[in-house]
């Protein structure tokens, strides 16, 4: 009950971590099934329909329900601490964001047991995702589930933007903000301007499927390419929503374990902003083969290649940070160091794909699959592993085992390169993506076998990580405030795990890497910016949970509103939108409750603070 009603950003972070981890596991199992099917030519392990459902759900789950919540977990756990705040700007909305994400994800995954998962690919290209080709409710689960989950992401984005703008500790100017906070800030801005586009796209697709609208139906005057534009004007920035937080994590981990300040801090900030800006300019590079014409292709080609410049700045700054530093290869730093070459390889194939004529060759082959897995797994997932190992003691008060962590790293990264490196060559040899099997003796056999073996090795790495988490959870919570001993930022100045009010007194920030600066000046901790006083805390509330339940019910109701049911009661309830109305009633009722009854919160008194 405590977990359902909590509005504490640190607990919400843990909720995001467990829920994201659960979906990540589901997505991983789907990946393993895909790789088993492709282990040999003409395999009959899965049929074509199941394979389509698996690749669709693998992509969708991993992007929206796996890695994004884990990113949000780290942001929630760390950002208020790094900027010296007691909480996020809107604790209530923070909780609402989590619950809408969770119920959206549950709705999407209900499709497995309620008559077929979505099967049109994670991009849901029309007309494949239209009723003509995808008659089951699968794509409805996709559109409505993602809609609800996306709401949570948007809320989270706005919350972080407001938090970072208004709640930084005294003295922390923007140019003294840690890089992870910068990455979160820019990521949230991208979320704010990218997610409403996919909201509209999903609404249009829902209307096409449930209300028989004609947006993407050529027979009714619609245009399928419109879907691709709307999807990618969201979908390309989404890539940067995923990777910029990883950049932020790497920029925290490397300086800490090099005992040096980040090389080129201000160029890192501006590179981040530039990447975000360019990220919005390049969506049509996903559409070179749809026939946009040579002028459009050339423009999008050049603007895409431009992104390599700020990204290159980042890569070199990380290398220069390590250069001459007292580098310690702890588990987080191993992951960070492994990230750099791996992500660079993904970036290089990105430039190759950005060349429109070359893309005509690479398009829809395993070369593309290899490229984006290098970026998203080799970049983001390695970054997340670095961040999780780095901040685990702060989140839970327990150090993860270093030796198991190193086992995780080596099995995972070797498995990763085995899986995806060979896929570049499979793609160049002409193996198509999204096809459930292939013929023998096309020279695909051995490389596919290698790829599948690699996938299992990655699975082993994940299991070692889970074992590490399990064993760690049974040990006493005795991590020191600054467990890595070279912590540079504010989160390392307070106990692990932090008390619910974070900072007894808001710290005064006197420079970049605030804590490091004080250490170098010979101080033990931060100078407080205020006297000890009562701390105002928001009350726990169940309303966000209820609102999300309401939206979930309404979504289900809307989805089945045109169905024929064998029982007349069911037909009556669904076909007259009674279920939908009930769900909306719960949601709006909860909103009304929130509006009518003010939450005055409560105070922690100074005596209580001293008592601890």
């Amino acid at each position: 009950m405590d977990w359902i009603t909590t509005v504490d950003h640190k607990k919400i972070a843990i909720l995001y971590l467990w829920a994201g981890g659960l979906f990540f596991g589901i997505g991983g199992l789907e990946a393993i099934l895909i790789r088993i099917q492709l282990i040999k030519p003409m395999n009959t392990f899965l049929d074509a329909q199941t394979f389509n459902e698996l690749i669709t759900m693998h992509g969708t789950t991993m992007i929206f329900l796996g890695v994004m919540p884990v990113i949000f977990a780290l942001m929630n756990a760390v950002i208020p601490l790094q900027i010296g705040a007691r909480d996020v700007a809107f604790p209530f909305l923070n909780s609402l964001g989590f619950w809408t994400f969770l119920f959206g994800g549950l709705l999407l995954n209900l499709s497995w047991v309620m008559g077929g998962a979505p099967d049109a690919g994670w991009t849901a290209y029309t007309p494949l995702s239209g009723k003509g080709y995808s008659a089951s409710h699968g794509v409805d689960f996709y559109t409505i589930g993602l809609q609800i989950a996306g709401l949570g992401t948007l809320i989270g984005g706005i919350n972080f933007l407001a938090t970072i703008i208004t709640m930084r500790a005294p003295g922390m100017s923007f140019m003294r903000m840690p890089m992870f906070a910068w990455a979160t800030f820019i990521t949230s801005a991208i979320i704010l301007f990218a997610f409403p586009a996919v909201t509209v796209g999903l609404v249009l697709l829902t209307f096409d499927r449930i209300l028989d609208a004609n947006f993407f139906d050529v027979a009714g005057g619609g245009n399928p390419v419109l879907w691709q534009h709307i999807f990618w004007i969201f979908g390309h920035p989404e890539v940067y929503i995923l990777i910029l937080p990883a950049f932020g994590i790497i920029s925290e981990v490397i300086p800490t374990f090099s005992r040096k300040r980040l090389f080129g801090y201000s160029s890192m900030v501006f590179a981040t902003i530039l990447i975000a800006f360019l990220g919005f300019m390049v969506w049509a590079h996903h559409m070179f083969t749809t026939g946009l014409g040579p002028v459009a292709n050339a423009l999008f080609s050049v603007s895409t290649m431009l992104i390599a410049v700020p990204t290159g700045i980042k890569i070199f700054n990380w290398l220069f940070t390590m250069w001459g530093g007292q580098v310690r290869f702890t588990t987080p730093n191993l992951f960070a160091a492994g990230f750099i070459p791996t992500f660079t390889m993904g970036g290089v194939t990105g430039v190759m794909l950005a060349s429109a004529p070359a893309d005509f060759q690479f398009h829809d082959t395993y070369f593309v699959v290899a490229h984006f897995h290098y970026v998203i797994v080799g970049g983001l997932v390695l970054g997340l592993f670095a961040g999780l190992h780095y901040w685990w003691p702060k989140m839970f008060g327990r150090m993860l085992s270093e030796s198991l962590g190193k086992w995780t790293f080596w099995t995972f990264i070797i498995g990763f390169h085995l899986t995806f490196f060979v896929q570049h060559f499979l793609g160049l040899m002409g193996m198509q993506r999204r096809v459930f099997t292939y013929l023998p003796n096309q020279q695909f056999d051995t490389l596919n076998l290698v790829s599948t073996v690699g996938a299992f090795l990655m699975g082993v790495g994940m299991i070692i990580f889970l074992v590490n988490v399990f064993l760690t959870s049974r040990r006493p919570a005795d991590a020191p405030d600054d467990p890595w001993e070279d912590g540079r930022t504010l989160e390392w100045t307070i106990p692990s795990p932090p008390p619910e009010y974070n900072f007894k007194q808001t710290p005064l920030v006197r420079g970049l890497d605030a804590f490091w600066k004080e250490k170098m000046a010979g101080h033990k901790g931060m100078t407080p910016a205020e006297p000890v006083g009562p701390i105002h805390m928001p009350s726990a509330t169940i309303l966000p949970f209820l609102m999300s339940v309401g939206i979930f019910i309404a979504g289900l109701g809307f989805m089945f509103s045109r169905d024929e049911f064998s029982s007349s009661i069911m037909s009556f309830l669904f076909n007259n939108y009674i279920v939908t109305a009930l769900g909306l009633l719960i949601t709006f009722g909860s909103m009304l409750m929130r509006s009518l009854f003010d939450d005055h919160g409560w105070h922690i008194e100074p005596e209580e603070l001293e008592g601890r």
């Binding site: 007691r86 509209v200 004609n214 009714g220 419109l226 701390i535 009518l596």
Partner: protein, 208 residues
Amino acid sequence: MTTAHAEAADGTLPHEPEKATLEGRNKVLAFWLFLGGEAVLFGTLFATFLALRNQTNEGPSAAELFHLPLVAAATLLLLVSSLTSVFAIQAMHRGNVAQLRNWLLVTVLLGLAFLILEIYEFSVYVRHEEFGMTTSAFSSAFYTLVGFHGAHVAFGILWIAVLIGQLLHKGLTVVTAPKIYVSAMYWHFIDVVWVFIFTVVYLLGKVG
């Protein structure tokens, strides 16, 4: 957060009560950000409409369908409602709760009148022109864009109505003031969106 609910020491409200607390300032800031997202949302809907506005699929076209005097009347109602919400905020800044309440009430009524005109317009199209959601890509885009705006108006009416209730119940405080201020921002936003709809959908439909 420590001063989140603190009132001014002598019990009177500050000049701009919506910005008196950190919570209030956060609310106003976050709402500007939210409106940025809403702008993208409507931008995407407008782009969709512009891409499909001539795809009539042998159904009625914009030029045959639209009746400008009706739309002009609706526009006038909505523009005036934006003005009355400005009056409401000015009354709030003067600390005049009765005037604030009355101007909010006028705003809600004007919004309601606009909504009734829109429902009437849609019902005419559906009944007499056989122009429904499924008729053509143009019709789908029209109902989605204009309907989304209408849903925003309906939500705004409900929201401001609840706020009026809250104002009567709790009075004007540093807690209620940011909510009223933010709802006025929302109302201006949907007004601006309507100006674009009037231009891009109706005027362009008649002459473009």
